[in-house]
Structures are given as structure tokens and as C-alpha cells.
């Protein structure tokens, strides 16, 4: 018999008799009067930055200035300007030099400051992780209260990859001292559009 059969048989023989799944009552969990305020407070407490903007005009200006600075800037937000599609086929050795990345996220989560990003919004799976600085754009109306609502709104099986990202890369492995910028982005700024 194969390992697969041995394992599955052993499990089938040894597992306890069937008990039902619980019903997750979504009304029984916390909600926030001001989800944006909660999102901002939590994200800033874990090293992220949050800026509320009326529309994309200001951010566009910053984006144009970033592009003109000569730094390697990648844009994956259609509303900001031309998309840098070439990143889709880029190798890690090239992407290592990416200074700043602009991406759009599907939603934000008030309870923990995370945003959900689909692979298609990243252009390249590696991009939000390997870039030095990450700029994320979300719409204010897309901030949900908790992870339960988040999973209701997204479909994790829709694309090949997706991630909740909550602030910049960090570690506390040396004497529990929090250091921002372990392997991934050194900063993460979320622009919330009214």
C-alpha cells in the first residue's frame, strides 16, 4: 500500500465519530462606529502609515514626482497612470532594485489594519514583498469590520495567490526589539480615498 493509503486508512480508523461544525454568528462579533478611524489607529500601531485623501489628484502628483525622481517606481494602479506591465515577467534580480510600488487593494480590515491584495492587483507576486516602499490605495467604503466580513467579500480561490498585508515587514527576533524592515517593504502607506 502507498503512504497515502496507509495514512488515510489510519486516520479513518482512528478519527472520532462525527461532530457538527459550529455556526459562526457574524452578528456576534465586534463592529466599529468609525471603521476608518479604527483601521488607522491599528495600522499605525503596527508600523504602517494611513492617509485620508478626497480623491486621487494629490496622489497622482506624488506619483509623477516619484517617477521623475529617477528611482525605480512600479505602478500597478490603473487610476494613477500608465501601468508598468513589464513587471509581470521580471526576475527577482531586477525587482530587487524596485524602490517604490503603487498597488490597489480590494479591502481593508478595521480590526487589524490589514488589506487584501489579489495577485492580479500585484502584477507580480513578488512585487509587494521585494520593493523597498509600498503604497497601497483603498476606497474608504471598502473597509470592513473584521476578518469574517473580509472573507465574505473576497474569494481566495479566484486567483493563484492573494495576501492580507498589514503594514511594513518587521521582526522582533533580537531581544524582542521591534525592527521595521526585515526582508520585505521598509514602509507601507495606505491611502484611503473618501
Amino acid at each position: 500500500m502507498s503512504a497515502r493509503e496507509n495514512i488515510l486508512n489510519a486516520i479513518a480508523t482512528n478519527q472520532p465519530s462525527l461532530v457538527p461544525l459550529p455556526v459562526i454568528e457574524r452578528n456576534a462579533v465586534i463592529d466599529y462606529e468609525d471603521r476608518y478611524a479604527q483601521f488607522k489607529t491599528v495600522l499605525e500601531s503596527i508600523g504602517g502609515k494611513v492617509k485620508l485623501i478626497q480623491n486621487l489628484t494629490e496622489l497622482k502628483k506624488q506619483f509623477i514626482a516619484d517617477k521623475a525622481s529617477g528611482n525605480f517606481v512600479i505602478n500597478a494602479v490603473a487610476d494613477l497612470g500608465e501601468l508598468d506591465n513589464q513587471v509581470a515577467s521580471m526576475q527577482a534580480s531586477d525587482m530587487e532594485k524596485v524602490e517604490k510600488t503603487y498597488i490597489k487593494a480590494t479591502l481593508g480590515v478595521a480590526e487589524n489594519g490589514a488589506v487584501w491584495v489579489y495577485e492580479s492587483q500585484m502584477q507580480n507576486r513578488l512585487l509587494p514583498f521585494i520593493c523597498q516602499h509600498l503604497i497601497i490605495v483603498i476606497d474608504k467604503k471598502d473597509i470592513v469590520a473584521t476578518m469574517h466580513q473580509a472573507y465574505e467579500s473576497i474569494d481566495v480561490a479566484k486567483e493563484g495567490f492573494g495576501a492580507f498585508i498589514a503594514g511594513p515587514s518587521k521582526t522582533a527576533d533580537i531581544e524582542q526589539s521591534l525592527v521595521i524592515g526585515a526582508h520585505g517593504a521598509r514602509s507601507a502607506t495606505v491611502y484611503v480615498v473618501e
Binding site: 462579533v29 465586534i30 480590515v109 492580507f164 515587514s169 527576533d173 533580537i174
Partner: protein
Amino acid sequence: MKTTHSKLAEKFIADEPRTDWHDETLWFVREKRDKAAHGLPEWEQLREWASQIKNHTLSNLSDYLKEFEEKAKANGIIVHWAENGAEHNKIIHGIIQRHKIQKIVKSKSMLTEECHLNEYLQQYNIEVVDTDLGERIVQFRKEPPSHIVLPAIHLKKEDVSATFHEHLGTEKGNNDPQYLTEAARQHLRDKFVQSELAITGVNFAVAETGGFVVCTNEGNADMGAHTAAIHIACMGFEKIIPKAEHLGVFLRLLARSATGQPITTYSSHFQKPRPGQEMHIVIVDNGRSKQLSREDFRNSLKCIRCAACFNTCPVYRRSGGHSYHTAVAGPIGSILNPNLDMKANADLPFASTLCGSCTNVCPVKINIHEQLWKWRQVIAAEGYTDATKKIGMNAMAFLFSKPSLYRFAGKWGRWMMRIFPFVTNNKLNIWYKQREMPESPKESFRDWYLKNGKINRN
């Protein structure tokens, strides 16, 4: 038993200031956990849901695993099954050989530690670079992790500085965590960019979708998996959950219980390999189906490896992770490891005060301290307790079953301790180690009660 918890702990606590520091550091993490837990009014409800989801999953485990396999295959993931650590290692070695791989990066996976993958591959001159900062530090030092979430929690920044000076050429005596982390970042970026194969663990695998979730704060799993042409994810079969919506419950609990964070920085959902990439999953048993058969202990398979039980445990905090001589230390490790090798790990269920703090913080409500107590009984019945304990227990059982002899011995004992204290206060008495013996009363409670009990009742 070659090494025991108490012998190894003795070494650790020889350095008293360091023991105190270790204790305080972990208690600080425990306090952060409390703060995070109290921030959610539904915390206890979440624990209950998580526990029930896991109970249900264990009761339907074989079907969920089959469903997961089918969906994962449809997603283009190659699924392997390993009955034990050796098979797990062989499967990974086979993939490495087939592709003639040289550069391998690994993000933290306690399962690969459990299977001793690094050592196995070393025999074939294959080097695996651990990329979690804490894991990299202990890898340089040729030590195992001492904690499943905070692998280098036993080290001070001076230790890390010395290690990095030796291996990465950092400035001697520069103990700044920011500086040291930056050095590791630069060193590991090179490893990521060059990597051909990435190994990760699995935090949760979803039967419904055939995808899996990996949680890190550093982003090292993603840096490896999205760069390398081959990604191998290793999972113990208990990591399965039924549906994607259940991730909502577990991701809310995991980081809050582990470090007090509201969520890990990255919670990455792997569904399909990227174009041109090869994605493998190795599903490992290694004693888990046996634990499933032990009714008293199968609950331990609900564990999501948050290590809350480590951080709260008064014994772990004062004895250090290495004293448990196993990949998974702490209270949960003391339940899991006797299942893997009862004789070699017979000491671990005794490395506990049975205070129940571990059970109180467990996000999936595993009755940890009760299982520790149950293991003690199994281990004693199997004859795996050491000789001194056995003799002592037998002598006590004899004495306690003979009331008049017990009273006689008590009288003489009290007299002896008063008149000749050195009889008990000496090195041969292990109860005297790091402890003052109690002051011996003139009469026993029984004698006092016979005299005064009636009067006081009136």
C-alpha cells in the same frame, strides 16, 4: 533517557540573571497577548468556535484530506504523502536531485525541524538557508530553535552581535538590533534572489479550495516562494480546516495569541503555482494518526502552533526551550513528544506545575494540563519513570496505606528535623535543592485536631 529536562534546565538556570531575563521577556509577550485578547469582546466565543471547528475537522479528517488533495491537484499543485520524517526528507531530497538544485531557502517550519530535514540534507552536502531572522541566528550557532514562534528568544543581543560578527562580518560589539537586522536583510536578500527552491511550512490548508495559508511578519516565506522556480510546502495533516471562511476565526486568534499582534504582517494565500513554477505539498503523518487514536491525547492535534502556552508556562519561562530536547518545546510539546517516542520523552510531562495556565490561554481550548497529568499516568504504568522516582513513589504508596505507620514515621520525622536538621538539609535530599525545608511543627494536624477539633466546632 540520555538527557532529561531537569538536567538541561539545571544548566540553563545556572546563570541566574539570564534566567530572570528570559522569564521576564516571555511574560512581556504573554501580557501583550492578554491586551490583544481583551480588545475583542468576543474572544471567548472565538476560542469556542475555533475549538469546535477543529473538533469537527478531526472527526472528518480523512474526507477533508481527500477533498484537499483533489482540489490542490486541480489547482496544479503536486501532492505527496509521507508516513514519517524519513519519507518526508526523502521526498524533498528527490525533488532537489531531480532538478539538480544548489540554492535552497527555507522559511520557518517546525515540521521540517521535527523531521530533521536540514541535518538529513547535510549528509548529501546540500545546504538549506533558514531565512527567518531568529532561525538564521540559531542556524549560524548550530543550535535548534528554543521556541516555535521566537526561535532565538533565549539569546541576548550581545550573543547575536557576536554571531553576526563571526558569520557576516558585522562590526564587533555593535549590539543595535536595527543594525544587526539590516545586516541580515542584506545577507538574506542575496540568498532569496539566487534561490532555486523554497521550502515553507503551512499554517492552514483549506479543504474546500485546495489552497494553503502561510503567516509571517518578515515576509521571508513570500520572498522565497515567489522567487524560486520550485516551492515545496510541508504540512502536518492536522493543519487542514474545512472552509476558507474558517480562516476568519483562526487568523483572528493566531497572532493575537502568539505575540499580541492583531494579525501577522503577511497572511499569504497560495492557491496555484505561478506560471512556470512547480508547487509541491508534502502531507506528513509522523505519529499524528497514532495520536489521533489516543482518545485522551487527540485534542493536541487541534494545536495551531501559536506558542501562547510556552509564554505563560512558569516552567518553560524559567528553564528555556532547549531543556525540552525536542523540536516543539513547552507545554504542547510535552504532550506531542511522548506520542512520538514515549521512552525518550518520558520526562517531559513531568516538566510542569499543572497550574493550568497553558489551558487557559490556548486559543483552540486544548486541555493541556489535563493531558500532561494523563501522560504521567501512562508513562508510570508503562514503567518509563526513572528509578529514584519509582522507588520514592512506591515507598510513599506503602506508607500512605498504613495509617499507624504513617503517624509513627511522621512523629519521628518531625522530631528528627527539629533536633538534627542536617538529616534533611543536605545535598543528598533533592527536595533541599534550591529550597528551604519547612520548619517542623511540634505536633501534626491530626493530633491538633483530636485535641481542639471538638471545642472549636461548638
